[in-house]
Subunit: 548 residues, 2 copies
């Protein structure tokens, strides 16, 4: 490291070296010094309207870029990102939460400085629950080592970490130290060998192996490795919803999204009849598995995650996932000559009927056709997400959805984080009217930074996914005239859509209008729902009201 670097400079350089180019946040007095330093640096500060928006934007950025940063002030800022940090933790998104804080000298005698909750370390204790590593930089002598320790924990675990910067520490000179810490986990070669031999034997002797790939493939960057394994073995592959697009959905061995009864029936049947299910980087979550409608047989599964590897009913620890996958590739896994596998339904061009009301099913078919190689689909939880299960995402594009933690309000701010680091991709944001009312005004931030997302509001007059479970006035929301938003923000284009022809016309216009955001207010029957949700409802019958 360079001598004479300040704490601020050291931290900023490290973030840049790790590939960070943007920092999301809202300034506050305890963080002003750091914001000032960021403005002078080669990182761009992206001010959101509210810290919540910054948290979601940083989460999406981390998912796409490998690392994201949200920078806030003490308590009033940091506690507003508790929820987005929890989501990043649950869904393995490496977000660095940097919080300004009262100076070390200011804390003496425990005065009632503004923004303090109970004690000065209240927020540290909160973030200890929501991160894999945390630190308060209160000593320049170990600042460098501490920053490195915490950042490498984020990289290694793909989960959020917390760095608190007392405001009088920023200009202190970091004491140089020898980078001698080994932050990586080691693989026990004996364990690896035994696990590989057993797995390969089982797979080679199986008749109908299937890979079910999950989100860790994406987070740890194993897409190419996975592709090679599939090319070597010819094993068909399905993905979970959280893992959607870890492989191109046009790949000849791709079956579709497996999601229990919520997914397509042919995929479900194929996966569940496998005599050797190979789960790679999959979270066994309830939504991923179609709210308990999945039937996966543990006794015939090989389950590989970054945390541990299980074969049938026994477990191997201390194996790096990458080494295990690499081991697969170097092993004598045979080529499986399976044919007749299900394939995703390819989008067909919709033919609008003039004056016919748009149904949820028509909307998703139409959007599916609309996608091109430069689209990234980002959805909020709810039917916006379930409906997207059946969309075929093209090879260059990606799909982002908080399919496990499922926090409403994610999608609009997530589009900001995504497009800033992937400027060639235009986000197609699918969001319910209820979720839009939470964070949708972050479109203001899109305008400020010259972005042009396409926002499709699935306007079904309330919390549509909850109505079939238990309905009441509490599932209603006030009806907004979303088409007024361009006037409020002095930018963008809006479309009020009730019929199929209006939808097609709007999508044509949207392709041409690229200088700012487009918002499509798509009016839907409050009791209509996506094919995926209809499949689930059919399978569960009335059980849904109990199980979700």
């Amino acid at each position: 490291m360079n001598a004479n670097q300040t704490v601020f400079e050291y931290l900023i350089k490290k973030l840049y070296d790790y590939g960070v180019r943007h920092v999301f946040g809202v300034p506050g007095d305890y963080a002003l010094g750091f914001f000032h330093e960021l403005e002078l640096s080669n990182l761009e500060v992206v001010n959101t309207c509210d810290e919540q928006g910054a948290g979601f934007a940083a989460d999406a950025y981390a998912r796409v870029n490998g690392l994201g940063v949200v920078c806030v002030t003490y308590s009033v800022g940091s506690l507003k990102v508790a929820n987005s940090t929890a989501q990043a933790f649950a869904e393995k998104s490496p977000v660095i939460v940097i919080s300004g804080a009262p100076g070390v000298k200011e804390r003496l005698e425990n005065p009632l400085l503004h923004h303090k909750v109970g004690s000065f370390d209240t927020q540290l204790k909160v973030f200890e629950q929501l991160t894999v590593a945390s630190t308060i930089i209160n000593d320049a002598e170990i600042a460098g080592k501490e920053i490195d320790r915490v950042l490498s924990a984020a990289i290694r675990n793909k989960q959020p970490v917390y760095i608190e910067l007392p405001r009088d520490m920023g200009t202190e000179i970091v004491t140089p130290y020898k980078t001698s810490l080994v932050f990586d986990q080691n693989t026990d070669k004996n364990v690896l060998k035994e696990a590989l031999v057993e797995a390969v034997t089982i797979i080679n002797s199986s008749k109908k192996p299937v890979i079910l790939a999950g989100v860790e493939i994406h987070r740890f960057g194993f897409q190419k490795l996975l592709l090679k394994i599939i090319e070597k073995t010819n094993i068909p592959i399905a993905c979970t919803l959280l893992g959607k697009t870890v492989i191109s959905e046009n790949h000849p061995r791709f079956l579709g999204i497996y999601e229990g009864a919520m997914g397509r029936e042919d995929v479900k049947d194929y996966v569940e009849s496998s005599d050797c299910l190979i789960l790679l980087g999959t979270f066994m979550t309830d939504i991923n598995l179609g709210i308990y409608t999945a039937h996966l047989e543990k006794g015939s599964s090989i389950y590989v995650t970054s945390e541990k590897i299980s074969i049938h009913y026994h477990t191997f620890e201390n194996i790096q996932m990458e080494e295990f996958l690499q081991g697969f590739l170097n092993s004598d896994l045979k080529f499986h000559k399976t044919n007749n596998i299900p394939h995703p339904i390819h989008p067909v061009q919709t033919k609008p009927i003039k004056g016919k009301n748009v149904s949820v099913s028509y909307l998703f078919q139409s959007l599916n056709w609309f996608l091109d190689d430069n689209t990234i689909v980002i959805t909020d939880p709810g039917d916006a997400m379930f409906g997207a299960v059946d969309m075929t995402i093209h090879k260059a594009a990606e799909f982002l959805a908080p399919a496990y933690y499922a926090s409403l309000g994610f999608a609009v701010p997530a589009s900001i984080g995504t497009q800033l680091i992937k400027p060639k991709l235009r986000p197609l944001v699918l969001v319910g009217d209820g979720a839009f009312q939470m964070t949708g005004m972050e479109l203001s931030t899109s305008v400020r930074y010259g972005l042009n997302p396409i926002i499709v509001v699935l306007n079904n007059e309330g919390y549509g996914t909850e109505r079939p479970m238990l309905d009441g006035r509490f599932n209603d929301v006030l009806l907004w005239d979303f088409c007024q938003i361009p006037k409020l923000l002095n930018s963008g284009l809006s479309f009020n859509i009730k019929t199929e022809d209006q939808l097609e016309d709007a999508l044509d216009e949207v392709k041409k209008y690229t200088k700012s955001f487009c918002i499509l207010d798509v009016h839907l029957d409050p009791h209509d729902s996506s094919m995926a949700l209809q499949r689930l409802t059919k399978a569960l019958g009335k059980r849904i009201s109990k199980s979700m």
Copy 2:
């Protein structure tokens, strides 16, 4: 208690008995059962756009009503109110946080149910940091006792508490129990006597005693007791900013707001030259005390709070604040014949100059004249709050501002909580353009529930209070055309205001238009500021950039 009450019924009845009439929140699947039960009960569910809005609304409600409730779903809901709960903790506002959660039976085998962060008790651990008591209702046998324990902690401490309701517990029958717990603190009579004798002796022998009253007077409902003490002793009284309106600002013994150099100079001089300062229920916070410009002499102070009582340099514990104040009233405290005390400047009718741009100073003078007995002033932190220091609040009205924790985005949702429980008061909401962009769209909730707040947006094109500290692009915000909001929400009236005459005309219209909200977009010079902030800046000179 009634036999055969379910957990839901028991909790709802207790809340009603404590004076709660509204519950703020956003439903989610883990909380749907409770929302359904609330809808059937005599409590009204108030759906906000986002949980953050519900948290702030409940905080304001608790401040005005003595108890407030926010009800949310697991993790994705509860963690969105971490910040508002922290504010309630720091500023002594008794908010009950009720969170739906996975059922007790669902938690077996630790499955990956949606919304889960690390472990099932992650959010409990978070809220343990932000509340004075917390519980998970996982056993019907002790549910009644647990609910009572936690609710009484909120009442006793005037601070938030946390109740987690696993969704399979709601319909369980609560086992009756004898209410035998003593939840109140006791006063040690010997301690009380000694403290009273010493305090009375000091006050009686002082030449220039002054009372400085704080927010605990309001929270614990000691306003009448305070009034009697002042009538008995004739001692002049100042208030802190957080304690503004604990006494009528028209009272003949009221000096004004004491806030160090940020307050009026005559008040500062009078208070700081006292030979016997009696602090009653005051938080010694930095903002309350004008960011370190206060000069209060501990050696001549009597400091009474709900937590302890200090006289000069020694401390008494185990004294109930109410008994101490009652002891004052029953003691032989003498009548002080002080005259020539400072008085607040009474508002004068502003005379607009046509075409002259509105200054911050003119705005506050004009609003001060506009107030009537049915106005409650609610401010966001920043110059909206500092400027209100000099406003004279009329006797029937109140003043709400998060003057210590200072979380931006409070005021608009706070107006919802306030007006629902005090329907005769019309909120005058003072909010910066930056803060409005955080939570201002909660006006949607005001419309839904038929409220009519007056929103004054102090539009100075960014974070105005931060500019004098350290400026940069990070203090800018996108300019919104706030006047479009009524069209977006299909309700309300808006005013675009640049000049003094436009302001006066708008305020005349606002008085007549009472059927929905009014929003005044008041354009201000980005470098203008309130008289209070100007006084502070003058006193601190360049020190402000270091101290705030």
